[in-house]
């Protein structure tokens, strides 16, 4: 932490960190994450001159409740930065400009790293464990443990660098794990998918190898068709129609 960084007591840090997990608690189409950001940053605002309920506190809280969008985990970067900006008495216009400027990058970086990277990788790790015959508790614990190690670490990192760098936090979004992480995770996802899909399908289908070979071929052909039709047909909605037809056929036959 630099010499000019305002002091944030441990209890305040802990309260902000805990509130970050509920940052989407009032997500809506009017202000998106806005109210959640105000809720998360509120413990820091109590340190403003005049304390809780003072003029500075109320002005800052009103500012932070406005429209805001970001990936929920990387919203921690914004919360840390905004807490510092408010405590340092930054001009409201600068704070507004920062809120507008950081929404896009915090959304796209988080989507790529978490929703399209870490989540499928951990889900495939769980499916691999299932395919290898690990117990129900083992599969659940492996998935939740691996996923949330990354999840909690990312929230904690975001809050730390956000508060450390304040409104100058943008370079932190060029951290190696955010720039190169998605590519590494994608390669791990590819490897896990290759191993997990046949094993998981085999675990549910049963031991008959002839049927399993046919199943794998059908799945591969179906995957190629769905990839080609992407945007026009969704696999899961196609499955609803197909399965409903199959069940009705089985029931009336």
């Amino acid at each position: 932490m630099t010499a000019g960084t305002p002091h944030l007591p441990f209890a305040t840090r802990a309260a902000i960190f805990a509130r970050l997990f509920a940052v989407q608690g009032s997500w809506n189409y009017e202000t998106l994450l806005g109210n959640g950001i105000a809720f998360a940053v509120e413990p820091a605002l109590r340190l403003l001159p005049g304390g809780k309920g003072g003029a500075a506190y109320r002005a800052a809280l009103a500012r932070q409740g406005g429209y805001f969008n970001a990936h929920p985990y990387l919203a921690s970067v914004a919360v840390g930065a905004l807490a510092r900006a408010e405590l340092e008495g930054e001009a409201p216009e600068r704070i507004e400009r920062f809120r507008t400027a950081c929404s896009g990058p915090l959304g796209s970086v988080g989507d790529r790293l978490i929703w399209a990277g870490w989540l499928p990788a951990c889900a495939l790790l769980g499916l691999l464990a299932f395919g290898l015959g690990v117990s129900s508790a083992g599969v659940v614990l492996l998935f939740l443990g691996s996923y949330n190690a990354g999840h909690a670490a990312l929230r904690a990192w975001g809050m730390r660098v956000g508060f450390r760098d304040g409104l100058r936090v943008a370079p932190a979004l060029g951290a190696p794990f955010l720039r190169r992480g998605p590519s590494h995770v994608a390669r791990a996802t590819a490897c896990l998918a290759g191993a997990a899909l046949p094993l998981a399908l085999h675990a549910v289908a049963g031991p008959a190898l002839g049927t399993f070979t046919l199943l794998l071929a059908a799945a591969a052909l179906g995957a190629a068709a769905l990839t080609r039709l992407h945007g026009r047909v969704e696999g899961w909605s196609l499955a609803v129609v197909g399965l409903a037809a199959f069940i009705l056929f089985a029931a009336v036959r």
């Binding site: 189409y29 009017e30 998106l32 791990a188 199943l215 992407h230 899961w236 199959f246 029931a251």
Partner: protein, 228 residues
């Protein structure tokens, strides 16, 4: 105990896991691999729940929760799918496809309830705009708590209603089903494998070298299947 009351523990689980999808804490206990297993465990069959959860997870890989888009809600759907399959006899014809089909329908419907909830919270926020604009901490906290509570109630209601509809419906349909369980599973798994395969390909295909990692993984996975 009445049928309605018997569903309450599962509805409570659905409420908690539905809350995890977006509102709190997004720890992914709402992913079908977890939610269906927990539902199965709640009715005494965690292994059955895990099987349903694994199949639903393959479908869920196709619908990752990007931004403000509408997507299926897997928390309550996983509970419904896991419970439906765990409450059937494993050898009953088409039990797994029926449970998965019901869960997919619930995921789709529950996705719409999330949209309705977001609109409702927006109306609440609009009604509280004066207090929020004045920097009222109690208004900020009240809106947050209202949103969390409403999402909890939404998840519980969706789970309870879905089980109340699909449990008797599935029993009625499956009692007349004649097709064997094995072919019905193959049909289901071909769809699930195709969906997951396509979803994974879309995520990895732009990454340099990823297709070789996929090929390596397939060789390892295929070899392990043969070894089993």
């Amino acid at each position: 105990m009445t049928f309605a009351a018997e569903l309450l523990p599962l509805a409570l689980l659905g409420a908690l896991l539905g809350l995890d999808v977006v509102s709190f804490p997004q720890a992914m206990v709402s992913r079908p691999l977890v939610s269906a297993t927990l539902a199965g465990a709640l009715v005494g069959q965690p292994g059955q729940g895990l099987i349903a959860g694994a199949v639903l997870e393959l479908f869920a890989l196709d619908t990752l929760p990007f931004g403000a888009s509408r997507y299926p809600e897997w928390g309550t759907a996983g509970v419904v799918g896991g419970a439906l399959f765990a409450l059937q006899h494993d050898d009953s014809a088409a039990a797994l496809p029926a449970a998965v089909c019901a869960a997919l329908l619930v995921a789709w419907g529950a996705g719409w309830t999330m949209v309705a909830l977001r609109r409702l919270i927006g109306r609440w926020a609009h009604g509280m705009r004066d207090a929020l604009a004045q920097g009222s901490a109690s208004a900020v906290t009240a809106l947050q708590l209202r949103g969390l509570t409403a999402d909890f109630v939404r998840g519980g209601a969706v789970t309870w209603l879905s089980l109340a509809v699909f449990l008797p419906l599935e029993r009625a349909l499956l009692s007349g089903a004649t097709a064997g369980a094995a072919p019905s599973r193959v049909f289901l798994l071909a769809l699930a494998g195709a969906t997951a395969g396509s979803a994974i390909w879309r995520v990895i295909h732009t990454t340099k070298g990823a297709r070789w990692f996929l090929a390596g993984g397939l060789a390892a996975g295929g070899g392990l299947v043969l070894a089993q």
